[in-house]
Symmetry: C2
Amino acid sequence: MKSGNVYDFRVEPQDVDFTLRATLASMCNNVLNIAGIDAQRNGFGVDALMKNNCSWVLSRMAAEFDCLPVQFTEYSIRTWVNYDGRVLSSRNFEITDREGRVFGRVVTQWAMINFQTRRPVDLNELAEDYTSVLSDEASPCERPRKLHAVEAVESFEHRIVYSDIDFNRHVNTMRYMDLMVDMLPIETFAEPHSVRLDFHFVKESVYGQTLTVGFRPQGDTSLFEIKSDDGAIVCRAAFEWK
Amino acid sequence: MKSGNVYDFRVEPQDVDFTLRATLASMCNNVLNIAGIDAQRNGFGVDALMKNNCSWVLSRMAAEFDCLPVQFTEYSIRTWVNYDGRVLSSRNFEITDREGRVFGRVVTQWAMINFQTRRPVDLNELAEDYTSVLSDEASPCERPRKLHAVEAVESFEHRIVYSDIDFNRHVNTMRYMDLMVDMLPIETFAEPHSVRLDFHFVKESVYGQTLTVGFRPQGDTSLFEIKSDDGAIVCRAAFEWK
């Protein structure tokens, strides 16, 4: 039997771009929303952790899409958690169409942060709620890769506004992805493609800051690095087009 | 018996702002998504109209929220269509919490446009699919008001990017709302409030254009006007805070 829980989706009109295929952002958005919903269902959601002044923080993410489904396609996302050491929790996702064909694979790595100490929590010391859901099933693709500093050849400034931020006044993870995707030539999306995305979320950015999004094409890969106006690296990403 | 169909929602973590209440944009987004889903269910969705080279175009919208629900609140949206002349179709929405209290009321007015003639279709001549769902039930609040030219005291430029656009390469309706909301002082959202929104969508804007968002506070009302770089008015709005 496959481990974890399964959630059903359909590509809605608001999820597609001008090719009528789901955007990368809408797929990743659903994945991250399922991470929250599934953690809550298992008793270790942000709502439960908040009572102990803790929260999950997304550290790295790798996503592979063989294709992007067209409008009104039904698909499902299966998610399971497996062991990834004392500090990082790996939550995995497999995205399957109605014919049972897997077309997307995602690995996310989360740290549990204690807001008072500002330190990660040792996941080995957690209550059974968490440890009992750990699965033996391997991750469905290569885990998030190391990402190096990017020497940008193009950059774009973005002042952080109300619609960018979440309950913490931090920029929503998926806004970083939008800011990156928006730097690519729009023709990038005109043809079906398969892609691997790697993200490293280094530091939160907050309302009032201005972000600089740096971009560098390198062979078949688009490299990105976002910095805040205090010079801190906020996140890095590599999109490898296949 | 109340007319129309009812759809259930819950305020998800991605729907809230730093006050942990649903954003205006997330509520209006759900309303507009339901408009599409309900039209499709009734046989006059964009997918069916496209076969005749027609589509619904949102012309005006009025929305009243007595309050905005907090994270994880369950609510439902009831929607029905009533008669609004030969050119405009009125789709109405009533938003109700689990105790049966109505806290949101929305009226949207749509024209059906023929892409070949670029002219509105006479709704009286439509097939029974459409006319049979027309309800006698009145709209739940005052219909969208007339909005006059705005003499902006503040303005902001925004280049239209990939993440702004829909399947038509037009800017998503809700992105206009984000652009407006982002011009307000963030303290506007710090306290619970009740608000009436009026929108007039005058002309589409497309990828590659630059928008100028003009803002003018006037008493308890925030007035907005968005123009494209060819000087055309794209949309106007008034947010009346109570």
